[in-house]
Point group: C2
Chain length 168, copies 2
């Protein structure tokens, strides 16, 4: 089972692609960031996000995707922009018939570190250990995406259907 | 100049396609609604919105699009969902190199009726008159989309570049 983890944002979307070999063994296929310049118009940002996700799908043929649940703050203006990034990404996934599940950040962190409020560096260390790579090989903004992919992979391989994230 | 007006929402997105013949003459090519059932998952909604916009582009080859600026309320949860609809639609437009402009509802209403706070029925009457069709031929949720298209068309034909909506 190949899983595409995504941590969507309009400027910096982290991704991680992993292959589950068993419910407790996974290997990393790729991780990185789709980065949009701060001055880029939103139309160009969503085009690049959807295009980037399509490229990942073409390269790795993921079976499913695991996204971070949107953080619902109290700023509706930033929420609309975050929603636009999610809409572009979800369109690319849906058009390729890739089921997407959403996990809250604390759920993904707890799943991979045992700690709901693990710091980003702790998550990165666990990911590096899990996938036998150097921490420095994981771009900062890809850490959460890898954790999301692994969180979903563990649950899906154990067919813990009641523990799966919210289907999007 | 052919303009695609869009009033985006996750469940009911209104559209109107018009052709500007001069700055004061326009004819309607199509109007209607992309409707998503309330129980449809968001992934299916965004897929249908992007697909619907692509179909309109293929049928009418619009030169540009005119969207309603998002109403920024104080509910961040609904703002994210509205953002997703906009992200899906903007992706389809951007991937077809169609420039999109946003107008606040009061701007579009004032442009087509002279009244910033015109009621929907007043806007519908003006649209029916403008395009020489029966009011009953305009679906309720397509009225604002037609007004957005006409608002942009008037300004673009007069090359009132300073009055054009926000480029998205």
């Amino acid at each position: 089972m190949i899983i595409l983890g995504l941590d969507p944002a309009i400027r910096t979307t982290g991704y991680g692609v992993i292959e589950m070999q068993s419910s407790s063994r996974a290997r990393i296929l790729d991780c990185g960031v789709i980065r949009n310049h701060g001055r880029m118009p939103h139309s160009e940002c969503v085009r690049r996000l959807a295009g980037g996700v399509r490229e990942l799908i073409a390269a790795f043929h993921p079976d499913c995707a695991s996204l971070e649940s949107p953080f619902v703050g109290d700023n509706a203006r930033t929420a609309i922009i975050l929603g636009m990034a999610r809409g572009a990404i979800l369109t690319a996934l849906a058009e390729n018939n890739i089921a997407a599940y959403a996990y809250a950040p604390i759920v993904a962190k707890r799943a991979v570190t045992g700690l709901s409020h693990a710091r980003k560096e702790q998550v990165a260390l666990m990911m590096a250990n899990e996938f036998s790579i150097a921490v420095s090989d994981i771009p900062d903004d890809a850490t959460d995406a890898l954790a999301l992919a692994l969180c979903h992979g563990q649950r899906a391989m154990q067919t813990q259907l009641d523990l799966l994230g919210t289907p999007l």
